[in-house]
């Protein structure tokens, strides 16, 4: 029973941390435009062109392509295209690490589907037929493959962080421990599979308990299976609390900053918001400003500086 609480708690922490972080980012005020080309939704993103390339650009309809954004985002997220292009030696280490995590997310999803299938009286395992057999093999490949990639990637990243003097100097203790945690989680899962759970029978059984709310299996889980569940849960809760939350904040970095070329137009929501922001009080103290919390942005921007 207690074991079931761990992933539940982790999932709750994960969701809360992601939501809180996303809301915090969303609640930040509109910033001044700071786009960086190529802007993926632009028609001429191929060479980095923008609407500013046209005479009377404000009279032309703005063409924005969602497909363009996805075309950049998907290879970037799945294949780490940027790292491949700009830091190939890191990519060999970072790609297996990240891709391993994606495969493991798929592994968890497959375990859940397998558990649901079991709840619907479908047998899942090496001796099953049809869907049950497919699920078994997919789960096996995703679990073992994902863990192998993650273990390899985290070990390679750890070695690099320790051996490269620049990376070592820039790293905090947590950066090393994070990698150790990933390596441990992947290693323990592989060990559990190799010694006690060759068909992920126990792990799927655990998820069966989750989806059917049967939290007493009757037979105790093997210790390595318990360890993999605990470590996996710890990781799940921990990631969004750290800078590794870039797995989703990257969306904001790209979509809301690098590619944010929205034009402030008369009567629009943005315009109203900007007017509000200009009314905020400024407390910068330099002699040429002396806001001291009394002057608004509009005041300091429109005052004459002749005597300052």
């Amino acid at each position: 029973m207690v074991l079931y609480l761990v992933p539940f708690a982790a999932a709750v922490i994960f969701i809360i941390a992601v939501v809180v972080r996303a809301l915090k980012i969303r609640s930040l005020p509109i910033h001044l435009r700071w786009e960086l080309y190529p802007v993926a939704h632009e028609k001429n993103a191929r060479y980095g062109g923008s609407f500013f390339e046209h005479v009377d650009w404000w009279k032309k309809p703005r063409e924005s392509s969602m497909a363009g954004e996805l075309g950049v985002m998907i290879p970037e997220i799945l294949l780490l295209k940027g790292v491949h292009e700009h830091n190939r030696s890191l990519w060999w280490r970072s790609f297996p690490f990240h891709f391993g995590l994606y495969v493991l997310a798929g592994f968890v999803a497959l375990l859940l589907v397998g558990a649901l299938a079991m709840a619907a009286d479908v047998e899942v395992g090496p001796r099953a037929h049809g869907l049950g057999l497919v699920l078994h093999w997919l789960t096996l490949i995703a679990g073992v493959g994902g863990c192998a990639l993650l273990a390899l990637g985290s070990l390679a990243l750890l070695v690099r962080r320790l051996s490269d003097p620049v990376l070592r100097e820039y790293s905090a203790v947590a950066d090393f421990l994070n990698l150790v945690l990933f390596l441990a989680a992947a290693g323990v899962t592989l060990a559990a599979w190799a010694t006690a759970d060759r068909d992920f029978f126990w792990l799927r059984g655990f998820f069966y308990g989750v989806v059917t709310f049967h939290f007493e299996s009757g037979v105790p889980f093997p210790p390595l299976v318990v360890a993999e569940i605990v470590l996996g849960s710890v990781l799940l809760a921990y990631i969004p609390l750290t800078h590794m939350s870039h797995f989703f904040t990257k969306y904001f970095m790209w979509h809301d900053i690098r590619w944010d070329d929205k034009v402030n137009e008369k009567g629009g929501k943005m315009d109203a918001r900007i007017k509000e922001l200009l009314g905020q009080k400024v407390s910068w103290s330099a002699p040429h400003i002396q806001g001291e919390g009394k002057k608004s942005w509009l005041d300091v921007a429109t005052e004459e500086v002749t005597k300052k």
Binding site: Y37, G49, N87, Q280
Partner: protein, 533 residues
């Protein structure tokens, strides 16, 4: 493998933290492969004793040394107040969002390092690594936010806060061109250029400390007198009259700059530095606009006859002040649109950043000269003969216009049409390298900063220029670097001069409109004069 500068060394007082040995500067292409790099011109004794000059071989801001420990502590306390303000919405709504994300998410993977021309061309001197200054601010910020406990050090890494840290960080923020090439390569989207700017801003807006060329002699002078060149409205008009006469003599075409024409089709805004340093540029604009029959005007309103807006590089308040004056002048004349002349940062200030500073009902449409001039070239009213431009031409992409605004093709289409020997630099377009003059460096040359800029920050641009012309290094054959931006021209002028590139290789530089006038068949030939040819 390079040895990093330990963060604890950054905070420990010493005579000089970093030194670039000229022998470590990467060799340049022929004919400079055998060029003997001289030692640095040393900083004067006065600069060393009276100013905080312990970062590297040069000095950009040169803040005076505090007189005693108490003064030091006061400055550190002011820095901390500024740091707090930098992360509040009231004081920094303008950039809080991107700044916060850049503070939180760096993986310290160093992917960005190789993208930075300053870092690479300094012989990979660790002090110029793009993530170095960002990491210092990041550690200070997290320490401040969490109270500096063990957990914060464990999670984010620690750093000691003292006057050495603060004064070096200030100088270090002026070793970055804000070109944001590094940000393009960051897999997470962290922007080291933005962080440099925010550090400068903290110092300027809270402590009133900034490089004097961009603050005192820059935006302040512009706001007081009308232009950072010191020219008032009368002097500008006089100078333009002189340029008009000169252009008329030179081309045989009548040119008369119109001032303050109510309801004109376009209000043209020049970087006033052009008028003094490169008069043929505003002159060429006049020739083209008159020949194309455009109803155009300049504004003689103080501040508006100078398109520069140095606040873009260091101070949001100064930036907004100048922007508002520019917008008001355009609105007052009731022009159909504003055309930004060949000045990159002025483009970005008015067209991109300004878009969310001025309420939309005040705004006047602003367009870049590049598509606009292209429309005139294509419009059929100018008679052009590309054979007049029968020399090698390469194009420099000003970061502000290209990487940061996406105006890539119009200027190329013009060159493909009018310069038969046009060839690209590599890389180019949005992947270009900064000229080394970005973020104010082009106008900063106090102490030996000009030399540092030329030999380190502009080195990659010089390398690219040389590579583009490797097919013919004969100095008798003129070559032209087309740089449609005043600050870029300033930096390119200095690097060409330092390496005697005109005499040795026949490399000249100038803007885009000059090339167009050079191709105009109605004008006397030889608008561009190549003295060494």
């Amino acid at each position: 493998m390079s040895r990093p500068i330990p963060f604890c060394d950054f905070c420990t007082p010493s005579e000089q933290l970093a030194h670039v040995d000229p022998k470590d500067l990467p060799p340049l292409p022929p004919p400079y492969d055998k060029w003997e790099e001289k030692p640095w011109t040393p900083l004067s004794q006065t600069a060393r004793t009276e100013r905080e000059a312990t970062l590297d071989d040069t000095l950009a801001v040169g803040v005076p040394k505090p007189k005693n420990k108490q003064e030091e502590d006061e400055l550190v306390a002011a820095f901390l107040r500024g740091l707090d303000k930098l992360f509040t919405s009231e004081n920094n709504w303008t950039f809080l969002h991107p700044l916060m994300l850049s503070m939180e998410h760096c993986a310290r993977c160093q992917t960005c390092s190789e993208a930075c021309h300053t870092f690479v061309e300094s012989g990979r001197n660790e002090v110029y690594r793009p993530a170095f200054r960002s990491e210092i601010l990041r550690r200070l910020y997290h320490q401040r936010r969490s109270g500096g406990g063990l957990l914060s050090r464990w999670q984010r890494g620690g750093i000691e806060l003292n006057w050495t840290t603060v004064s070096r960080l200030l100088e270090l923020s002026y070793r970055c061109n804000l070109c944001r090439r590094c940000a393009q390569t960051c897999p997470i989207g962290v922007d080291n250029g933005l962080i440099s700017r925010e550090i400068r801003k903290l110092f300027s807006q809270e402590l009133g400390i900034a490089a004097k060329e961009i603050h005192e002699k820059g935006s302040m002078l512009q706001l007081r007198v009308g232009s950072s060149t010191g020219m008032n409205s009368l002097v500008v008009k006089d100078n333009l009259e002189f340029i008009d006469e000169d252009m008329t003599t030179k081309t045989g075409l009548p040119v008369k700059t119109p001032w303050d024409v109510q309801g004109a089709d376009i209000l043209l805004m020049h970087n006033a530095g052009e008028i003094l340093a490169w008069p043929e540029n505003p002159g060429a604009f006049g020739i083209i606009l008159d020949a194309a029959g455009v109803k155009w005007t300049l504004s003689s309103e103080a501040v508006a006859y100078d398109a520069i807006n140095y606040g873009l590089w260091y101070d949001d308040v100064q930036y907004a002040r100048v922007l508002i004056k520019h917008v008001q002048a355009a609105a007052k004349l009731g022009v159909k649109k504003v055309i930004m002349g060949e000045c990159g940062h002025a483009h970005k200030a008015m067209m991109v950043i300004g878009n969310r500073v001025v309420p939309a009902d005040m705004a006047v449409p602003v367009e870049s000269t590049l598509p606009y001039i292209e429309s005139l070239v294509d419009g059929g009213k100018l008679k052009l003969d590309p054979k007049r431009n029968d020399f090698a031409v390469t194009l420099h992409d000003p970061c502000n216009v290209v990487r940061l605004m996406g105006i890539v093709e119009p200027q190329r289409r013009i060159l493909r049409k009018l310069a038969p020997k046009f060839r690209e630099m590599e890389p180019h377009g949005v992947d270009n390298y900064c000229c080394g003059g970005g973020s104010g460096f082009a106008i900063m040359s106090g102490n030996n900063f000009g030399e540092w800029r030329t030999r380190i920050a502009s080195r990659r641009k010089f390398r690219q220029i040389l590579e583009a012309f490797q097919d013919d290094l004969d100095p008798k054959h003129p070559k032209y670097v087309c740089a449609p931006c005043s600050n870029c021209k300033g930096a390119i002028r200095d690097v060409l001069k330092y390496y005697e590139a005109e005499e040795r290789v026949g490399i000249h530089y100038g803007g885009l409109v000059e090339l167009i006038v050079n191709a105009m068949t109605d004008a006397k030939p030889g608008f561009l004069e190549f003295s060494a040819a």
